[in-house]
Symmetry: C2
Subunit: 413 residues, 2 copies
């Protein structure tokens, strides 16, 4: 894989030109894209910018984000050939930081359920996850050092776990969603995929102009609360094992870890998530669903069919639960710095008919808190399994710091 | 003017066909559009739908909202001829309720400061207000019974006041902004213009599928808190007089009214509004500003030039103030049902070089609370002046109820 931090260091030291760094991605795409299918389209002639912290960094953009230089097709024939006039806000943030947009990565239709043709670089017989399938796979296959995705249920953290890369779903609206196709305005969150936690931190810091998001020279030792999310059902053996290993490694490295029970209102919020998501989707995708019904992807269409009867009153109640749960969750962070929990039920499921299950992710999306995936183990079939490190709303720096601590601890096992 | 409630009653009674109702708007546009200039484009062949509560209602859509059937030009040459693929969520809500989109109304460039060619139907020498200039003027000129606008500072309530129509800026995100050009995601709010409060309530209820937003058969008597917003400076004589008259009328009709002082944190939020607005605008309009600088409207460009240095830390501080102010403001509504304050400093200023001042509006946009404009008096030059009735976040029904009470009371003066 191509490490963003490594490229930055070599470019800064004068050991690598920004153009050579981009050329490395171009060559890797030429070598691997045919077998992985992570891109909808890419520009074989893309060049480096000469300034900015992300000069020389080739970035893949999930194909629900507007780009002036590429079509934006939303993973759906309904948007075949669609050209936005300009760039999404996050694409401009990347360009202003010096990055080069190398192409658009595959997305399930409207960032929902229907799988893309993208393969998991770790094992072609298993899903790469979704909905940001192409972004996770493109980084995991070593084609690019940075990619953007979005999460409404679990579409950043889950594919990162399945593909064995780091990723952050930042605090709600730390990154703008302007120019990003909406599924649910209360939930949609732009996130980043990169090789490791330091790479993700560098990308997010450069995009937001927030130096405090860079990892500090000395990583502090976190107090960790371990959360099992029993309300979401039991994990697979590999998911449970990933959490055990991560905790053991963190404790060996000096961190404190203790099991925490989430307040009942937080479990209620987990149950409320789909109500919020689908009620808003019926408005956000009204034109697509009502005027292009036959062209809608089947799994998404079925989900919308099933949720058609959701009432404003049910939505208002779900939003009320979410607000109360956010307050209750905030209190937990008086006792611990971060929470650690499953990124997914386990390793990527076999087959390409499903992108896997977001049941361990959706609560955190509704809570708006920053989540970082850290690869924790390699299960049978060479399939990676991650854990997620979660901090208080707004404490993205704390989430990245603790995720790096866990990553370091795992590397020393 | 064309009353939505009146059309609905006549259509329901079988005294008017939905097609005849639409034809009335078509004829009015043919008669008045040439002198007012409220539309960017309109469809002289638009037809009525046969079902839905808004069948027979011709609606004007602010030209920052995506429409499949019309270009969406954002009031800027940068978007000349731009065609979205589908309809904005609010356009679909209208269509699903049976309304007919008759055309796109003028907007200042990206819903900001630079005036459109639209004239104020009450007095052609004075601004109709902005940024939803065309929507306010089209209703005021009697061309259409309903129009959509947006408010980020004061772009719904102010033009409604200047043009002498009712309008609601609903609670934040009661109406979705999906497919609406973003200026500031924390502030942008879709609103409705119509002749009177009942008309506005019917439109909002039909769009949202919330029957509780319809006015009840018997309007309850509100406890009114009167707020002067001294932190925003002194009003013109006509603005102050509008508040005096509205209060006197409401008291005569049996309402209680008492002066309230807003907590200091709320005044701080008033000062924080521009920080939130411009920091987000620099991201939302990054492509337009950075890659089309020369084509940007001059007043907007100047505002962006001036706010270029706003830091993430200043933005975070402003957002923190906004949250604390929302909590402090909510407590005020334990003592009163609604607040009543200025909709604008006074009557529409002379000339077309400015759309007027949003200083009495911006606080309420940041607070996310529902605001309803009620025309209160006619000042010199035939210029109307409104007052705004403001309720607790989420209590749009309460805001409409009290606004109707004030409207009734003023009519009986």
């Amino acid at each position: 894989m191509i490490s963003l931090a490594d490229l930055q260091r070599r470019i800064d030291a004068g050991d690598l030109t920004a153009d050579a760094a981009i050329a490395q991605s171009r060559a890797a795409i030429a070598a691997h894209e045919k077998s992985i299918g992570a891109f909808v389209c890419h520009d074989p002639n893309v060049r480096a910018q000469s300034t900015g912290p992300l000069r020389g960094i080739a970035v893949g953009i999930k194909d629900i984000m507007d780009t002036q230089d590429f079509p934006t097709e939303m993973g759906s024939p309904i948007y075949r050939g669609f050209r936005s006039r300009g760039d999404a806000a996050v694409v401009m943030l990347l360009k202003q930081a010096g990055a080069s947009v190398i192409g658009k990565t595959t997305t399930t239709a409207f960032a929902s359920l229907d799988p893309t043709p993208t393969l998991n670089p770790r094992n072609h017989g298993h899903t790469p996850g979704g909905s940001s399938s192409g972004s996770a796979a493109a980084v995991a296959a070593g084609m690019i050092p940075l990619a953007l995705g979005t999460q409404t249920g679990g579409s950043v953290i889950r594919p990162a776990s399945f593909c064995g890369v780091a990723a952050i779903k930042p605090s709600y609206r730390l990154l703008p969603t302007v120019g990003v196709k909406c599924y649910s305005w209360t939930l949609d969150t732009v996130g980043l995929f990169a090789v490791g936690v330091d790479d993700v931190a560098r990308g997010l810091s450069a995009m937001t102009g927030r130096p405090e998001l860079l990892l500090p020279p000395s990583i502090s030792t976190p107090r960790i609360g371990v959360v099992t999310q029993d309300f979401a059902g039991a994990p697979d053996a590999s998911g449970a094992e990933a959490v055990r290993i991560a905790i053991a490694a963190a404790e060996r490295a000096g961190a404190s870890a203790r099991a925490l029970t989430l307040p009942e209102i937080v479990a209620e919020a987990w149950r409320a998530h789909p109500v919020v998501q689908e009620f808003e989707a019926h408005q956000a995708l009204a034109w697509e669903y009502r005027e292009n019904y036959d062209a809608m992807a089947p799994l998404l269409r079925e989900r919308l069919d099933e949720s058609k009867g959701t009432t404003p009153a049910a939505y208002d109640a779900a939003m009320g639960i979410a607000t109360r749960a956010q307050h209750a969750l905030a209190k937990l962070f008086d006792e611990v710095d971060v929470l650690l929990t499953l990124s997914a039920p386990g390793a990527a499921p076999r087959g390409l008919g499903s992108t896997g299950d977001a049941r361990y992710n959706r609560l955190w999306t509704l809570m708006g808190v920053p989540c970082v995936n850290v690869p924790a183990l390699i299960a049978d079939g060479g399939l990676p399994v991650g854990v997620q490190v979660i901090a208080r709303y707004g404490d993205d720096a704390g989430a990245l710091n603790a995720a790096r601590f866990v990553e370091d601890a795992l590397a020393r096992l």
